[in-house]
Homo-oligomer: 230 residues x 2
């Protein structure tokens, strides 16, 4: 049933380190985008990485809308502003002050955006793997995003995921019909620098959890309940 030559050659130590470096130094970028648009060949290379992601049943449900139209950038920024104004009220006074000082998107600075859309009803894949866990179509699209994000880091390209948006308004701005899910809206562009740690950590919004607290063996760790509001 399985054909094809196998690839026996392992990664060198230098190659392994490069992969770890991309993972460690990837950042959610909200500032510092340079105005130069990404060259087409680079953009295609990054999208090709996204397209090499795993997908349930080889469904490949991801669709990429590259947004270069400045008028749409402004429309999406307006959608962000509305959603962000609504979000502020959810925090107590001290955290409101912290929140309003955060820069949470680079929609007007980034020379291009990418909206990642998932077709949950795509014929491809023939439903394999989705009978009991249909959400894996959406998860496949997220794997594609993470591939693109890491390749972008290696290319000196910043990516920022903006989730403070009303999906229905985003749908209207980009003519996305019902039946297709707006998984992510990304700002993307060259940057000079990447911060050594996440902006939300630097700003005192949240701290990083020690890994040991997030790993258990063989069964659910009941300590995890204490981290949860549920």
């Amino acid at each position: 049933m399985v054909q094809g030559l196998v690839m026996n050659k392992g990664f060198s130590e230098a190659e392994r380190k490069a992969v770890y470096r991309a993972i460690r130094e990837r950042r959610d970028v909200r500032r510092g985008f340079l105005p130069d648009p990404l060259p087409d060949d680079l953009l295609q290379r990054l999208l090709a990485c996204a397209h090499q992601a795993p997908s349930v049943g080889l469904m490949q449900p991801w669709r990429f809308i590259v947004v270069r139209d400045r008028q749409i950038h402004r429309s999406v920024h307006e959608i962000f502003r509305e959603a962000n104004a609504e979000a502020v009220g959810d925090f107590d006074d001290a955290r409101q002050a912290l929140y309003t000082g955060l820069k949470l998107e680079g929609l007007l600075e980034a020379p291009q955006h990418i909206c990642v859309v998932c077709d949950e009803n795509a014929r491809q894949g023939h439903g394999l793997g989705r009978k009991t866990m249909p959400e894996t179509a959406l998860y496949s699209a997220v794997c594609a995003i993470q591939n693109l994000w890491l390749a972008a880091r290696a290319e000196g390209v910043g990516v920022g995921w903006v989730s403070i948006l009303h999906p229905e308004k985003l749908r209207a701005a980009l003519n996305i019909p019902s039946g297709f899910v707006t998984v992510a809206y990304l700002c993307i562009g060259y940057v000079n620098d990447f911060l050594p740690s996440p902006e939300l950590e630097n700003a005192g919004w949240e701290t990083r959890t020690p890994l040991a607290e997030l790993v258990s063996f063989d069964r659910f760790d009941d300590r995890w309940r204490t981290r949860s509001k549920a």
Copy 2:
């Protein structure tokens, strides 16, 4: 508001190539797992990569259950067998024959599994970024999986995502309480070889779509409707 030194050093050509290689040569592995368990330091290194993923509001909602107990491996395999038997009936005759010839999991061969659980109600992150798109908590956990998957490839470690499982039965097998989402169940272990192309492609289950058909500019591409059952 933002502190910290910036990292100006770009990736070398060799480093970039290594990142592209990991993305290109990553496979969903269902066979060929070697019986040797992963050394603890390697397992921790891979989990640390998962933990370096982006998360909405720095929420870090991922929880990792490393399953080494062979009895649980057998229980999960039984859960797979039930779900898989139910899935077969969804296909027409020709595709049923193809489907039953596929090897879709390596649950009994892989010396360890990882169940990735998401706490959608985690206090961390304080809800930032989740008011309009709460699903980003789940998506953060998927980004963690893709980080781990790529690092594993660089280490010669195969990962296979098994979605043909009833989530409620998996929950029972691992004592996962309600309020926590079973995002993924992964088989993981050393392999000698990685196939040059996806097993489902080699087996004739599905073909890969040309990238150009999945990219549009500025607005949704109405040709995408023709790929959809919706």
